[in-house]
Amino acid sequence: MTSKNEIRDDQTHRFVRTHPMWFKVIRKPAFVGATFLVLVLYAFLLPAREAADPTVLYVSISFFLLLILAWSGNVLSDRNQSEAAKMIVALLLIGVLGWLFYNYSGAQWDKLADFFFNWEKLSGGWKVLFRGLGVTLLLALISAVGTITIGLAVAILRQFKSGTLNIFLKIYVDIFRSVPMIVVMVVLFFAMPYAGISLGSIVTTIVALSIGYGAYAAESFRAGIESVHSGQIEAARSLGLSRWQSIRMIVLPQAIPVVIPPLTGNLVAMLKETAVASVVAAPELLKRARELYTSRTNPTPLIAAAIIYLIVLVPLVRIVNMLEKRVKLR
């Protein structure tokens, strides 16, 4: 009783499950080659950018994109295909994507160097940008102290198991994990003066970041403390250690390794969010970049700032990732 999906293996007489027919067909070299030629033809037939009606252009390019992805996906997912062939296909794919973008995005590529990497025009600006970076890092550092303090305080207060206290803490954490940080900063900076609280842009940023990310930090600390088995505290108390001694010598040393990955994630996210402080006029990196962009009508400062952010943040984000993976493996 063999279905069309099964054949009898002649040597072992066992049933060997195979793929459906059409699956085998698309993998045949003939098919792959034929479809490749079709795609090449299609590429030549693509209208030039200026010539055609925009809708026709978008549709035909989208369709072309889809076909390319499907074709390369077909080759790359074939387990029986050689690695060399796959390498070539991959390079081809990247090449075609690049070519599409180069030709059809409407970019005037000659202006690239002039406007984006005009380092001479930027000359005095580097100092300004780096001072902005300094402010960014300082803001992040001070806010980090605030964040950790608030997060730790909330986590410790939770240990007192008071019903009312826990409700207040939950409300705090819920609110600040839900409201976007930019809204918090804007309200503190633009609305609070009407209530008599007028904080400068720097203080506003620090307060907003500390309170906002303190809520996330509190959750990270909570996860860490909850990861310590309750039997640990019982054993410590049964030996005569006080509540504070048990927390200090038994719970915290075990909780801290669990807290570090998510807490570092919180702090890196907070560092990213300092860019938002430009909205409330804090003199950090993005704000400086915008000022330079306006005063010199040249986007290079913005690009430079973006690159600086990447240089600082990409390694940090990777480190956070590594830390989180290591905990998952335990």
Binding site: P20, L76, M87, A90, W109, I182, V186, A191, G196, L313
Partner: protein, 337 residues
């Protein structure tokens, strides 16, 4: 009897504990607590400066007063024998005291508080613009979610081919778009690209920036989903006679779904919150609408209203996404048992 006297009694180490039984420390004595409270009352009535902006010395008096009140509250809170009810009352009292002190000594124009922050008239005038802002926010969130899902899925699929060339570019993409702050990305797209003749409208710039950022996370989520399917599942399915399509449909996808949905929902919620950043490139979404109306009507009520709106919208969403993540954790634990 005589045998007992042959052993000299060693004094119990708990002698001092025994001696202290029934002895109540001074700080816990009712008289102490009540007299402290009376002292605070006297201080409050006679020694606090009058209403109005305080001088430096007067400010010190107020701060010392609240510090003393905090100490009293700490004594109550640290007492394990006091009921939770009493502690709640003390906590509320502390907050009320803080509010009252603030009312007495801040420079706020209190008579105008409601007029300023909860002005129904102003909100009514601003309403149509706020509504339009809300729909824009919704549109941004949904458009970004759709784009990021499609992009993220594509990236995850091509990542699963394990091709070194593709991997290099995909990892580069994910690193860059996870690291760059969204507001920076929005500004680069909207303000810098026009210089290269790529002119995108504000809304499109916003959607692209949100979509690119979100897609980096989505691709990692799908990738984790793919990797979570254990090899044994596919082997078991084959051993039962399922072909590869049935295996995908009945075994792999349902499991991958369960792994992918909670973090995906969390990502969409976070992305929806990030739509507020679009206000910085002049997209009239909810926050920008509120700011514009505030400037126009010279009254911060729209801003307060919108903040409350964000809370009302996102607290349930954030809770729900947290609930989903916890459900996934617990179901994982059950499987391992």
């Amino acid at each position: 009897m005589t045998q007992e006297n042959e052993h000299m009694p060693t004094p119990s180490r708990l002698a001092d504990v025994k001696a202290k039984v029934g002895h109540i420390p001074l700080v816990r004595k009712k008289q102490f607590i009540y007299s402290y409270l009376a002292f605070l009352a006297v201080y409050g009535i006679f020694m606090l400066p009058p209403k109005g902006s305080p001088s430096a010395i007067e400010l010190l008096l107020v701060v010392v007063y609240y510090a003393l009140a905090l100490v009293w509250a700490a004594i109550i809170f640290s007492d394990e024998l006091k009921s939770d009810k009493i502690k709640t009352v003390v906590a509320i009292g502390l907050l009320a005291l803080l509010g009252w002190l603030y009312y007495q000594y801040s420079t706020a124009r209190w008579s105008e508080m409601t007029f300023l922050f909860f002005n129904g008239d102003v909100i009514r005038k601003a309403w149509p613009y706020l509504v339009r802002g809300f729909w824009t926010t919704l549109f941004l969130a949904i458009a970004a979610a759709i784009i990021s899902t499609i992009l993220g899925l594509l990236l995850a699929v091509f990542r699963s081919f394990n091709n070194p060339v593709l991997n290099f570019f995909i990892i580069l993409y994910v690193d860059v778009f996870r690291a760059i702050p969204i507001i920076v990305l929005m500004m680069v797209i909207y303000y810098a690209l026009p210089f290269m003749n790529i002119r995108l409208s504000a809304i499109i710039s916003g959607i692209i920036a949100l979509g690119l950022n979100s897609s980096a996370y989505v691709s990692e989520i799908f990738r984790a989903g793919f990797l979570s399917i254990k090899k044994g599942q596919i082997e078991a399915a084959h051993a039962l006679g399922l072909n590869s399509i049935q295996t995908m449909r009945l075994v792999i996808l349902p499991q991958a779904f369960r792994v992918v949905i909670p973090p995906l929902v969390g990502n969409y919620v976070a992305s929806a919150k990030d739509t507020a950043l679009a206000s910085s490139i002049s997209i009239i979404e909810l926050l920008k609408a509120a700011l514009a109306q505030k400037a126009l009507l010279a009254n911060p009520s729209p801003l307060i209203f919108v903040t409350i709106l964000y809370i009302v919208m996102f607290v349930p969403l954030t809770r729900y996404s947290g609930y989903l993540e916890r459900k996934m954790q617990s179901s994982k634990r059950q499987i391992n048992v």
